[in-house]
């Protein structure tokens, strides 16, 4: 066993750090898109629109039932062969697409469970004052479901941040891709991957501060 090359590791930190914005941007954009799609899918699963319901079920089943890496390859290498306007698709776009669809399927299921978990009194009160289905969902049910689903959704966001590392297989130089290149030059694989592992870890841990803030914010209405 040899000693770790600490100096090399310290030198590597700023290099990898410069790719953190790209990683966070991919995860952030994919999260926002996935939340929107997941909410729509979840609402559909609850109100069950004929025909659409079957398609949504298949969508969710497919994107939960196949590996994220396979989905990314499908979008990046596969789709352009079939759909001509996608020939220009770059790795970042394909990664965001893959992450969005993959996680929207998971998030749809937890949002659906949260919607069903909203007390029946809330549905009835909304109906009794004359709200339409969509007013009830937007103003009363989904905000309450968000509170129930929040801890799970934050966990998916964490998975998503880590999932962006797969974009390197599409030729994207993000944190993982940059590390891979550095390691290939120095042959100090252990040091390089240890540095990137620690950086991912720090990012994810600092998110838990955000999580606590979010929970306090969402629980505002329930404080006595």
């Amino acid at each position: 066993m040899r000693a770790l090359d600490l100096q090399y590791m310290l030198g590597l930190v700023p290099v990898i750090l410069s790719y953190v914005p790209l990683t966070l941007a991919m995860a952030g954009i994919a999260m926002v898109l996935a939340l929107i799609i997941a909410s729509l899918l979840a609402v559909e699963r609850v109100v069950r629109i004929p025909v659409l319901d079957g398609l949504v079920a298949i969508f969710i089943s497919f994107f939960r039932g196949t590996p994220l890496l396979v989905q990314l390859f499908l979008f990046y290498y596969g789709l352009p062969q079939i759909v001509s306007f996608l020939t220009q698709i770059n790795g970042v776009t394909a990664a965001i697409m893959g992450l969005t669809l993959h996680f929207s399927a998971y998030m749809a299921e937890s949002i659906r469970a949260a919607i069903i978990g909203v007390d029946r009194s809330q549905w009835e009160a909304s109906q009794a004052v004359g709200m339409t289905q969509s007013q009830m969902m937007r103003r009363i049910i989904l905000p309450q479901a968000a509170r129930i689903a929040a801890p799970t959704l934050v966990n998916y966001f964490i998975d998503m941040i880590k999932g962006t590392s797969l974009a390197f297989t599409l030729g994207v130089t993000e944190m993982m891709g940059a590390t891979q290149k550095e390691a290939a030059g120095s042959f100090l694989y252990f040091e390089a991957f240890l540095v990137v592992a620690i950086l991912y870890w720090i990012i994810v841990e600092s998110l838990s501060f955000g999580q606590r803030w979010l929970e306090v914010h969402l629980n505002k209405a329930h404080a006595r």
Partner: protein, 243 residues
């Protein structure tokens, strides 16, 4: 004039409402009494389609809905003729007391938020809850929550206000303040249909008392007659048990 004809509701093969006919004058206050499980709640819930009746018609003035063929739009319109006060308050838990009142004014009745807030504050003042305007339901006592619930219903200016045992879930100490508020609503000549177990209150406030049993209206009349000289032995039984 509100006219209900042949209202029938089944859950499976259990006929919970059996051909109910009921006419309600503008400004009339009706109390519905009767044993547990006889369809009192279901009657109120069918009037605004929280439960969908199987057959019968409901008329608010010229607006008529045939239960079996009611469209989504008709159901919404019907709900906008009514306001509902729930046994368990059912306030929007993600809304403050004031927002509980403004919510439907803004989303359903398209009032500006200024207008809705002014209305809400007037109602909160009347219900003695202005200092709780910014409180969420979880921070209110049962009595306060139910007063907000009644305030939310008052704001709708509905043709008919439906009350489903508004004091049954309350600790005894809060019952009085809720009944007091209902008396004030009554003074405004609001048309009210009230399911209640508060016999004294029914006797005092109702123009007409309806006794239900087995999904039917067994007997109805002025409170003096129903409580003083009921014809049907089931009413005598019932009154003996609850008094």
């Amino acid at each position: 004039m509100i006219r209900i004809k042949g209202l029938t509701k089944r859950f499976g093969d259990n006929t919970v409402l059996n051909n109910i006919d009921l006419e309600i004058e503008r400004g009339e206050r009706i109390c519905v009494i009767g044993p547990s499980g006889t369809g009192k709640s279901t009657l109120l819930r069918c009037i605004n389609f929280l439960d969908r009746p199987d057959s019968g018609t409901i008329e608010f003035g010229d607006f008529k809905v045939e239960a079996a063929k009611a469209t989504r739009r008709q159901i919404l319109a019907l709900r906008r003729c009514t306001a509902f006060v729930f046994q368990n308050y059912s306030l929007f838990t993600n809304r403050t007391a004031r927002q509980n009142i403004t919510e439907a004014l803004v989303t359903v009745h398209r009032q500006s938020s200024d207008e809705a807030n002014r209305r809400a504050d007037a109602i909160l003042r009347e219900t003695g809850l202005l200092d709780k305007a910014e409180s969420y339901p979880a921070a209110l006592s049962g009595g306060q929550q139910q007063r907000v619930g009644i305030g939310r219903a008052m704001a709708l200016d509905a043709d008919l206000m439906l009350f489903d045992e508004p004091t049954s879930a309350l600790d005894p100490e809060w019952v009085g303040e809720v009944l007091d508020l209902m008396r004030r609503v009554a003074e405004s000549r609001q048309t009210m249909l009230i399911v209640t177990h508060e016999m004294q209150f029914a006797r005092e406030i109702a123009h007409r008392v309806i006794f239900m049993d087995g999904g039917r209206i067994v007997e109805q009349g002025p409170p003096g007659a129903i409580f003083g000289a009921p014809q049907d032995p089931r009413i005598r039984d019932f009154l003996r048990r609850v008094s």
